[in-house]
């Protein structure tokens, strides 16, 4: 019986130690994941800002591109809410000339940290509550969504990071 008692004590010690080991490994793994995640999230923010900054250099609307005078009707003269997006000849990012040309545009950005999927939505927002509206206003909102296969939610699906910017025609 003495032999059995020692074996049981050893087994108990091994079980306790195994549990400690599992927890430790989990902690070390989580540390490493946090390091990678924060580096990638920094890249996500940079890419989102990059697209927003670029869009801000363009004209507010198609009717204001190289226009000698403001449109006769503001905001009624702006592109209809349902027609936002790149026009006929504006097929690539390089040919975009106004803010809403980026609507429905998407691309893959290759960086030092791997590939990132970027997609953009531009829409009019109400000037009181900044909510999406289907009528023309002097406010347009750009919403840039960035995702990476390495940044995932708890349910293991790619996580979408959204960066937004509201542009006012009069504040240009």
């Amino acid at each position: 019986m003495i032999g059995y008692s020692e074996v049981l004590q050893t087994m108990a010690a091994m079980i306790i130690f195994s549990m400690i080991l599992l927890n430790t490994n989990h902690m070390i793994q989580r540390n490493s994941m946090m390091q990678v995640k924060s580096e990638l999230e920094q890249e996500v923010i940079t890419l989102g800002q990059e697209v927003i900054d670029e869009a801000r250099t363009k004209s507010f609307d198609q009717v204001t591109v190289d226009a000698a005078a403001p449109p006769s009707s503001i905001p009624g003269g702006f592109t209809a809410a349902g027609s936002l997006g790149s026009g006929g000849g504006e097929t690539t990012r390089r040919s975009f000339n106004d803010f809403d040309d980026y609507h429905n545009w998407s691309d893959t950005f290759t960086t030092e940290h791997g590939d990132f999927e970027v997609s953009v939505e531009v829409y009019y927002v109400d000037q009181v509550n900044y909510q999406k509206t289907m009528t023309e206003t002097t406010f347009k909102k750009i919403e840039v969504t960035v995702s990476s296969k390495f940044l995932r939610t708890g349910s293991d699906t790619p996580r979408d990071y959204k960066l937004e910017f509201i542009r006012n025609y009069y504040a240009d």
Binding site: I20, T24, Q42, E50, E54, R94, E112
Partner: protein, 217 residues
């Protein structure tokens, strides 16, 4: 000494060794996390300065000198920008009407004496106010790469940049800039063996579209 005693000594020995190894691993992981955080904090300090300078190049430039950029190379950029018109800064300048000339330059082979990492270089930011001595900020916090690429259009693929150095006649063509900044830690991460150790690396890259580069002065 019976067999049971010998076995228990062996098991105890294995357990002790395992506990020591686990302890070492936890310490190493903690140290690596700390080194990473320090490196990233240093990177953020530099990027905050760049994020303020680059998008605002050409600010308040209504009079000669009539070009925004004066040097555009892969490791150096020089441009005019008025740092005044900001209550937080105005007191630091003698003449708020004239724009300051700002230079960012990276010296790859200028490793700071205090650095333990031979890859470290020195990044400088020089602010020149008209009639005043230049004010140089020495950034010796682990910068290992500072590359700038220039583009004549928005959204060009990364490798389709204007070849550097760019001549002054091409400055007006520049619409977009891509900056890559890499920092490495001063200390190596601890490892069980020497071959495991490495410097922690943090990279920041961004394409800038300064609004003033769109304006013909």
């Amino acid at each position: 000494m019976n067999m049971a005693m010998i076995t228990s000594y062996i098991v105890a020995g294995i357990l002790m060794l395992s506990i020591v190894m686990v302890n070492i691993n936890i310490s190493n992981s903690g140290a690596e996390l700390t080194i990473t955080q320090i490196t990233r904090d240093k990177l953020e300090t530099v990027t905050t300065m760049l994020d303020d300078d680059i998008p605002n190049m050409g600010y308040d430039l209504l009079q000669p000198p009539d070009t925004i950029l004066t040097v555009a190379d892969s490791n150096q950029i020089q441009f005019f920008r008025n740092l005044c018109r900001d209550p937080a800064r105005d007191a630091a300048f003698v003449n708020c009407n004239d724009p300051e000339r700002i230079t960012w330059r990276f010296f790859e082979s200028m490793t700071p004496g205090s650095s333990k990492n031979n890859n470290h270089g020195t990044l400088i930011r020089v602010v020149e106010e008209v009639g005043q001595a230049p004010d140089t900020t020495w950034i010796q916090s682990g910068v290992t790469a500072f590359n700038i690429r220039y583009y004549d259009d928005h959204g060009r693929p990364l490798d389709q940049n204007i070849p550097s150095p760019i001549s002054s006649s091409q400055f007006d063509d520049i619409k977009q800039l891509y900056i890559e900044l890499e920092l490495q830690s001063d200390e190596r991460t601890p490892g069980r063996f020497n071959s495991d150790t490495r410097y922690v690396r943090s990279v920041w890259e961004k394409r800038f579209s300064p609004r003033n580069l769109e304006i013909e002065l």
